[in-house]
């Protein structure tokens, strides 16, 4: 008995891809686990961080010259807004606690917490 010929053009590619994936994952992770790979990756990453730091500094100087707020200024504002938000949360909680003492109906009817697991 002869097998039906596989006419799916993706069949061959599928087999090749599975082999390629296995090979790249195995050898790739083996290579990436080597100290030399870690050193190279971190050297690249370090350079990118250095470039980012230099860019931040230059941008900060430019913004100061143009009398515009820097990222640090915006972050400081953000911190102050966050502390205002935190104060609002505390006030909301206090209001909620005092409101819960009132006999107001709940926003959504409470579901009874009496369920038992199926036998």
């Amino acid at each position: 008995m002869t097998d039906t010929p596989n006419l799916d053009p993706f069949a061959l590619a599928r087999t090749w891809m599975a082999q390629w994936e296995k090979m790249v994952n195995e050898h790739g992770t083996e290579l990436l686990a080597k100290p030399e790979a870690a050193q190279a990756m971190q050297a690249l990453s370090g350079a990118a961080i250095q470039a980012q730091a230099a860019s931040n500094e230059a941008t900060g100087r430019m913004l100061a010259a143009a009398n515009l707020p820097s990222r640090a200024d915006i972050e400081a504002l953000g911190t102050r807004i966050a502390s205002v938000e935190a104060a609002l949360v505390r006030i909301e909680a206090l209001l909620r606690d005092s409101a819960s003492a009132q006999p107001n109906p709940p926003a959504r009817p409470a579901v009874p917490r009496t369920r038992k697991p199926p036998a």
């Binding site: 799916d8 590619a13 686990a33 971190q42 250095q50 935190a86 009874p112």
Partner: protein, 353 residues
């Protein structure tokens, strides 16, 4: 035989046409709506979001469930679409479900440390769940780093503890995460310079690191998409998971610095030397029922990194389950629907009355 060959040829041609037609449609179609189960956001503070999902049955278990998401990813992996949502599954099984989810930390959040995540966010979420439900008992269910945070909180607060603690794919022996160990080798990786300069661990850096765990993974996934473009279910699932896996969050600088130094370099959770806010994390004093579900083919948190956790927990009622699947397919998708979700329900239901 000739007719069989003709049928095969026809099928191949039809699929080729469908691939082309649907491929064009795919490029122009909107992203799927994820995480849409009805809920209230009851806390929104810094990167912390606490959701309370609306019950979908008339009677719920007494003990509410708090899902704790990993800090690198969004919580909608627990709530993809109807029929593929752990949240919806738990609601329909009668649980009162809450989720601790995360937003990207803002620049002013850069100083948030591990202590803030464990005591303020996990501890704060538990207090909010207790307040919202009127119940002092809460079950904690954590995924990956969310599992680590849940375990850390439980190890600090074993006297009051959660009612039940279930974690999925939670690393404890970070020495066994060999690639992450190699890439964060302190001889080459200057975590202080990264954090001091950028204030955050950028999401792109984290995504690249996860991608490099399987260097061919992305190309292979794209090929599988092209190959299966005729299959609507495959395409839908691919889009959901692809969107989620690319939707990574940056990490607050101090939190990243501390997790790198304490967990990855010192391996202090495994060594039993972990302290948070000056207090010891005592896993051997956690006595609540404990479940750890790990995945057989997890390439992110390998079995070697997660398996020792069960031995460190002091509870007499503890169980480790290894299920088929990978790091993500363990908790979402058809594999999870079939394997993990029913297992969790079976374990948790009896302990939630």
């Amino acid at each position: 035989m000739a007719s069989a060959a003709a049928g095969t040829a026809q099928s191949a041609v039809e699929r080729a046409i469908q691939r082309s037609l649907k491929g064009l449609g795919y490029l122009g179609s909107p992203a799927p709506v994820l995480g849409a189960t009805s809920k209230d956001v009851i806390v929104s503070r810094g990167p912390m979001r606490l959701y309370h999902y609306h019950p979908q049955v008339d009677e719920v278990y007494r003990v509410p469930v708090l899902l704790v998401m990993a800090t690198t990813n969004r919580g909608y992996i627990f709530d993809m679409v109807p029929g593929q949502s752990l949240v919806e599954f738990l609601l329909l099984r009668g649980y009162d479900v809450f989720m601790l989810d995360w937003e990207a930390p803002r620049p002013e959040d850069r100083s948030l440390a591990l202590k803030d995540y464990v005591e303020d966010f996990v501890g704060g979420a538990i207090a909010e769940v207790q307040r919202a439900t009127g119940e002092s008992d809460v079950s904690l269910v954590g995924y990956c780093m969310g599992g680590v945070l849940s375990v850390l909180w439980s190890g600090l607060n074993h006297a009051i503890g959660p009612k039940n603690l279930a974690v999925f794919t939670t690393p404890v022996d970070f020495r066994q995460m060999t690639l992450f160990q190699a890439w964060s080798d302190p001889r080459y990786f200057d975590v202080d310079r990264l954090v001091d300069t950028l204030g955050m661990a950028p999401a792109e850096m984290l995504l690249t690191a996860f991608d490099m765990l399987r260097p061919a993974g992305r190309a292979s996934a794209n090929f599988a998409l092209l190959d299966n473009m005729w299959n609507d279910e495959f395409v839908k699932a691919h889009r959901m998971f692809d969107r989620w896996s690319n939707d990574m969050l940056p990490l607050a600088g101090e939190y990243f610095r501390e997790t790198t130094k304490e967990l990855v370099w010192a391996n202090s959770l495994m060594e039993g030397t972990m302290r948070i806010g000056g207090r010891p994390v005592e896993l051997d004093r956690i006595t609540c029922p404990f479940l750890h579900v790990t995945a057989e083919h997890d390439h992110i948190v390998t079995t070697a990194a997660s398996a020792p956790l069960i031995g460190l927990i002091g509870s007499p009622d503890k169980e480790q389950v290894v299920l088929k699947g990978g790091h993500v397919s363990l908790i979402a998708g058809p594999n999870a629907v079939k394997r993990m979700w029913p297992r969790l329900d079976h374990w948790l239901g009896a302990k939630s009355v």
